[in-house]
Symmetry: C2
Subunit: 331 residues, 2 copies
């Protein structure tokens, strides 16, 4: 770029809620912008523990109430010592051997325990597959690569009893970054790749270099600020461009699994998602991109017809790429 090339000055503006969105989606945008968290200093671990507990408490009520009446059986199991919620939607054909390995979001900090159970149950309903939701370890007490190690352990455990073509790996936000990192590391360690990968608004670049970190700052009502303090805590001094931390910088020419990526036009992680799609496609990997109009980070809480449409795309993609044809089996 030319020396001294101008940055773009964009004036203040008011952005209305699009009139054509569903009432559910409009309602989510109508809640306005979330309040930004004040992050502690990196070394103040007690302050981190307190902040994480506060955030966890704030989300556990709403998520467990969203999940409590879902027709999904759940139990907590141990996979080689790693805690996992084993979630089976009633709708699942008992002959369907497939498992969806779900990695929860929460900036690598939150989303554990009962939140993991609840988000796993919601993921199970979206995928309509038996789901293993990994309760991976989190900072400040367990930093990189603890979470990734845990996810790898569970993936290895699944491969003991399942064909790779029956395993799908997916995650949202930080969990999407972990999902991509699991696939890269599985490949590097010579493990078979899963049938398909689902990356929902994935945090695949902890350096936050994407253009939408600027363009959609203040536009995304869910992610309202940089997550860099959380990224640095999780990374524990490792280079943020390490592909196991920021899978966007991986070498996909060495192989990856078919991937479906989802984001929204207002998403702070729009660039994360779009760049990951392009990186996969540049390496010739099967990859599909779906973008929710006016969607903030994470979409519309999964409650809108717009979200349901994206969930339908994910189910179709999984069916196309996994061994078991759920569509024909249920007919």
């Amino acid at each position: 770029m030319p020396e001294g090339a101008p940055s773009l000055e964009v004036p203040a503006r008011v952005i209305p809620i699009p009139a054509y969105l569903s009432p559910e989606a409009s309602g989510v945008l109508g809640m306005g912008r979330m309040t930004a968290f004040a992050y502690p200093a990196l070394e103040d671990l007690d302050a981190w523990r307190s902040m994480i507990a506060t955030r966890q408490e704030a989300s556990v009520g709403i998520l467990t109430s969203m999940a409590k009446d879902l027709p999904v059986t759940s139990k907590r199991i141990s996979a080689r010592g790693v805690g996992v919620y084993d979630l089976v939607p009633e709708v699942v054909d008992t002959n369907d051997p497939r498992v969806y390995l779900d990695l929860h979001g929460g900036s690598f900090l939150t989303g554990s325990g009962e939140v993991c159970r609840a988000t796993g149950a919601l993921a199970a309903m979206r995928s309509q597959m038996r789901t293993w939701s990994v309760d991976y370890r989190t900072p400040p007490d367990h930093r990189f690569p603890a979470a990734l190690d845990d996810c790898l352990v569970v993936y290895r455990e699944l491969l003991e009893t399942h064909e790779p073509g029956d395993v799908v790996i997916g995650g949202t936000s930080a969990g999407g970054g972990l999902a991509a990192a699991v696939v890269l590391r599985a490949r590097d360690e010579g493990l078979p790749l899963p049938a398909a990968v689902v990356l929902s608004t994935p945090e695949v670049d902890l350096t936050e270099s994407g253009d939408s970190f600027h363009v959609n700052l203040g536009v995304d009502s869910m992610l309202v600020a940089s997550l860099m303090p959380a990224n640095l805590l999780y990374a524990d001094g490792h280079d943020l461009t390490d592909p196991y931390l920021s899978p966007l910088f991986g070498d996909f020419s060495k192989g990856f699994a078919p991937t479906i990526l989802t984001t929204g036009t207002r998403d702070l992680f729009l660039s994360n998602t779009v760049r990951m799609h392009r990186a996969l496609r540049a390496a010739g990997i099967t990859a599909e991109l779906h973008v929710l109009e006016a969607g903030p980070h994470g979409g519309f809480f999964g409650l809108s017809p717009e979200d349901a449409e994206i969930a339908g795309e994910i189910r179709r993609f999984i069916t196309e790429h996994s061994s078991h044809d759920a569509t024909s089996a249920t007919q």
Copy 2:
């Protein structure tokens, strides 16, 4: 949406040029924002003619110089009275029966004549197919449905001598809107559908209802203001939601052809493109979305490796969906 739901107030910000873009793409963003045109009053036709002539003159030099050394033969022909540039890249296999019907952009106002020849030659190089670029009639002297009528005439003419599976319809911006309208109208008139459709940052909603008309206003350096005056001039009093004017509002459950759509994260038409993708997918139509990171309207002048990658996706998509397998034929 709740009564009185707040619109989002987004403060002013400075958006840097992403460091990871190619030098060519950075150079385009480094040019800064184009100057907005002052549109004449709707009824001042002489002022429109003068403005259109000025804009046409401003673009003809750069576009003809971009196209002049391309290895493409060109001649102007008449298809049932409609002017067409017949453009054949040297690389095209003489046994390849396929034709790319290219509809140029220019807000329905500009892009005629030698600009049409030049942009058609560039489209021919991108698709690596014989290309017919339609020099459709434009306002203020010829308004809706004149341009669409012209494109339909040429499509009908192509069908006289070509299998539908050998015809691809594509366009950029206003031309993308026209391309989608041609397919809707061909379907409604009982004509066979083309093999594939290429919608590059398509103007499929003349009401400009999409969220990116707000979010990316001032962010897109190429389209820097509403095009509503041009839309109203072209529409000539017709309802802007008519699907032949705004194909986004068409009923795709009655059928459409496989479609590839391209846009950029900074594109004022990001929502146009994303919404069209979702509308097609909701109706079960094969449709692929590709988004250029930090790309403004129209991408990076077609000069960057990023643009080249998208052109590669378009060629692959066409090969997958048209009768003639250009890849195997040239081996």
